[in-house]
């Protein structure tokens, strides 16, 4: 049995320690907001926070998460009102939406480190999250808006 802390809740799961964290989230715990894209850490769709870092859960063995704090899109805010989520809705970023969970989780980590990112900062930080619909320009706008919202709320 493996004990995990996810979105401030404790879960016990009976899985092989080598199982990717993504499969535990989706198949064992029903936290399906995190998406499977490539399975090789090449696309960013599966990004979750592990102790605040934007890890790729498809290549992260669940054993790495034991004793650590995991946050998924479901736990990012209580009412879906994290500044990045608000900005995403305001700018209407999503097209098909499949990659957006990963995009948002990466954007949150960027904004923790950089309260006022430039286009170049955003491009460098978000290069690991691919969007097949090409919403990159709206993602940039939404990250800048989220930074403004965070400054106002601070």
């Amino acid at each position: 049995m493996i004990t995990l802390s996810i979105n401030k809740k404790t879960y016990n799961v009976d899985v092989d320690p080598e199982t990717p964290l993504l499969w535990v989230l989706r198949d064992e715990l029903g936290l399906v907001g995190t998406k499977y894209g490539c399975g090789l850490a090449q696309c960013g769709a599966c990004t979750v926070h592990l102790n605040g870092e934007a890890v790729r859960s498809c290549v992260t063995k669940v054993s790495r998460a034991v004793g650590q704090e995991v946050v998924t899109i479901e736990g990012l805010s209580e009412k879906g009102d994290h500044p990045v989520q608000k900005a995403w809705l305001e700018i209407d970023v999503a097209q098909c939406g499949y990659c957006q969970t990963g995009q948002i989780m990466s954007a949150v980590v960027l904004l923790k480190a950089n309260k006022n990112p430039t286009d170049a900062d955003i491009d460098a930080a978000m290069a690991g999250n691919i969007c097949r619909c090409g919403t990159y320009l709206r993602i940039r706008d939404a990250i800048k808006l989220a930074a403004q919202i965070e400054r106002k709320e601070a």
């Binding site: 090789l40 934007a54 290549v59 960027l110 923790k112 460098a124 930080a125 290069a127």
Partner: protein, 199 residues
């Protein structure tokens, strides 16, 4: 006649010393306890160099701030940045994808608990370096991460060095084994850590 022989011997000695100093250069005096041998040292470095310049080593010692990837040493997809400490930047840390232990399968990210590039203030570039340039860089504490000769020798067994021979499916290993590399590395240092003269 005796005078003539002494003068001739002197000339021969000077010529020998000159040719020695022009050919291969001892780089450090930190290993005086070892028997210096420029020929053996330079020969050993041939093996060292071909490992260090192989993709498994050079890809994380790039000339720019983006690591290289693959047997063709292309820029790493997603263009992750070096960052100040060599471990990436905010949402693009090396450890976000490079795990402590690898997942099985082709093209999975290679793994080590402390995956990183050299830090921004000491980039320790291998890419594009000639044998002479790289040898000099490796023994200078100002360009080798502050390592003494002893620490340099021990570095052959560093975990991140050894992982070069265990990078997972689809990645060609360095041209000689780790044991052969370590032997050449130590021999190069013990015989004087000479830098080959670049042509």
């Amino acid at each position: 006649m005796k005078k003539y022989i002494i003068v001739l011997a002197g000339i021969v000695t000077i010529v020998a010393l000159l040719s020695f100093s022009l050919k291969d250069q001892p780089i450090s005096d930190a290993n005086d306890s070892f028997h210096k041998d420029s020929i053996a040292s330079v020969n050993a470095f041939k093996d060292v160099y071909k490992v260090l310049i192989s993709p498994r080593c050079m890809n994380c010692h790039p000339s720019g701030d983006v690591p290289l990837q693959g047997d063709d040493s292309h820029l790493h997809t997603m263009l992750p940045q070096r960052g100040k400490d060599g471990k990436g930047i905010n949402s693009m840390k090396c450890g976000n994808c490079h795990q402590a232990t690898p997942m099985e399968g082709l093209n999975q990210p290679p793994a080590h608990p402390d995956w990183h590039l050299p830090p921004a203030d000491m980039k320790m570039v291998f890419e594009g370096k000639t044998p002479g340039q790289l040898a000099k860089q490796l023994v200078n504490p100002k360009t080798n991460g502050g390592k003494t000769m002893k620490q340099l020798m021990e570095h052959a067994d560093d975990g991140l060095v050894k992982i070069g021979w265990d990078m997972g499916e689809g990645r060609t290993a360095p041209p000689i084994s780790h044991a052969e590399f370590k032997k050449a590395w130590i021999r190069w240092i013990e015989t004087g850590a000479y830098a080959p003269k670049d042509k």
